[in-house]
């Protein structure tokens, strides 16, 4: 079954499925307007946003492990977790993230394309039913991206994201962010499964640029916030 959602994000946008797609995910048919992964939510212990995020991702994969055990394994300190520590934890404690990698929304190349690929990876991963761990707040905080709400845009025949849902271990579960602002909040780094995001570049090149989300505009600018 083709289970292409299609979604998009921000002004340079990203999408997954275009035309005659069969929307899956158990959403209402024929016009779905939201989807979220069933990720169990856990609040963080002090300084443990990294372990709490890993705990949520692992629980989604069916593995129960405490934040303390995760913190002990990866070597958390009062200053939180390093890149290597969080990656080590995701790869060790989760199944769907065993091949996790840290992706940076920047570096060499065209910033617009880099940003397009970056957000396409998030939607592509959710579409593949695999959570994403965005590093927000200037990479001083982490949580789990679990889904969002969208609408069907008749102009471009695509489903377009209006908002995303972010499990924030410091604040609460399924926290909504307008899609245009999400790209300002989660604008630096995220941890994703490489397998789950394998199609992200294709999706971006196929559909990116045709879409814009609420609160964004002036298509062509790579940072909508």
């Amino acid at each position: 079954m083709v289970r292409f959602l299609l979604a998009i994000l921000f002004l340079t946008g990203m999408v997954l499925e275009p035309k005659s797609c069969n929307i899956g995910f158990g959403s209402p048919t024929p016009a779905p307007s939201g989807f979220s992964l069933s990720v169990p939510f856990f609040y963080q212990s002090p300084q443990y946003c990294g372990p709490a995020s890993i705990e949520m991702w692992a629980a989604y994969d069916g593995r129960t492990v405490s934040q303390q055990a995760i913190a002990s394994y990866i070597g958390c300190t009062v200053n939180g977790s390093t890149q290597a520590q969080i990656l080590k934890g995701v790869q060790y404690f989760t199944t769907s993230g065993h091949d996790a990698a840290l992706l940076y929304n920047g570096g060499e190349g065209d910033p617009s394309t880099i940003a397009g690929d970056y957000y396409s990876a998030e939607i592509t991963s959710i579409n593949a039913l695999v959570p994403v761990m965005p590093l927000v707040n200037g990479a001083t905080h982490a949580g789990i991206l679990i889904g969002g709400q969208w609408h069907y845009d008749t102009d471009v025949s695509l489903y377009v994201w209006d908002s995303v849902l972010f499990d924030d271990p410091a604040v609460g579960p399924a926290r909504p962010f307008a899609a245009a602002d999400w790209t300002g909040y989660d604008d630096v780094e995220h941890i994703v499964s490489l397998f789950a995001t394998a199609q992200s570049a294709y999706n971006y090149y196929e559909y990116g640029g045709r879409v814009g989300v609420r609160g964004s505009g002036l298509g062509g600018h790579f940072l909508p916030y």
Binding site: S33, Y43, A170, V171, G215, S216, G217
Partner: protein
Amino acid sequence: MRLRSVAPSLMLVAVALAFSERLGATPWNLMSCDSSGEARWHSFEQAVRMAKPGSTLYVPKPYPAGDQEVIADYLDQWASLHRKAQNPRNLPPHEEEVSKAIRGGQLSYHVMRVENWTGMRCGWQHKRDFYYLVRAFESGGTEITRALIADSGHLVTWMNLPASVPGPVEPSARLLAAAPTAIDQINQDFGIQGTDPEYVTTYGTIDCDFVFPCLAFHEHGLSYVVYRHEVFEVSVRGPKLVQGRDVGTLATNAKLLPTLAGDERLISLGGFAWTVARKASPAQIRHGYSNFR
């Protein structure tokens, strides 16, 4: 004759008092955005103002001028996002009861201003010096939802039942007294004379969330932020850290954070600017002793 000579002086005094009152209520921040973005920001504002229904930029009251216009933008976008019935599993917690209350017209709304010290203030496309925080209350006084609206009128994020859901957010941020009330309480608790109170949202290890902002204030010309009932001095004389170069990625943070002393916290000042804040004692604040001499 005497009256005629006194009247202009009285007027001057009245104007001066009004102006000083106004200054006291004027929002403030420590860093300005790079003016090279002005043309883009202006272009975005014009596009928002001219947007028609159906546009991704449309809001009924672009750049709302008052509380009622902010509320109108909020309710319009809320209705738009909830135009279809959805599986409750795909919604934020308590969304159905909030939606029912909003549709039933049973809520009263209160709008607060939150200054934006996060990296999102000096964006590529638009500058967001501040946000509006819309708080919706039931008739019994229970706050049922809290939503952040950009100065352009666009809905950014929201949190339902902010005062009663569990989690590590501190009580004062949940209850969020009006800024003048909050500074009165801080002044009383710490024995200080803070002025110019305003709520701010920040990134960093002073993490003042969008819907759970922190109180910032001045005393003796110095700037402070209250975080988890501790007061931190924030100064332009502090370390000048740049997003992406010194801070803001896991790699840069891993180098920087271990160098901070126990009384130091990382805090964003807006755009690419970050600094290190230092905890200040009530005595230091009272006497105007800066930690950044």
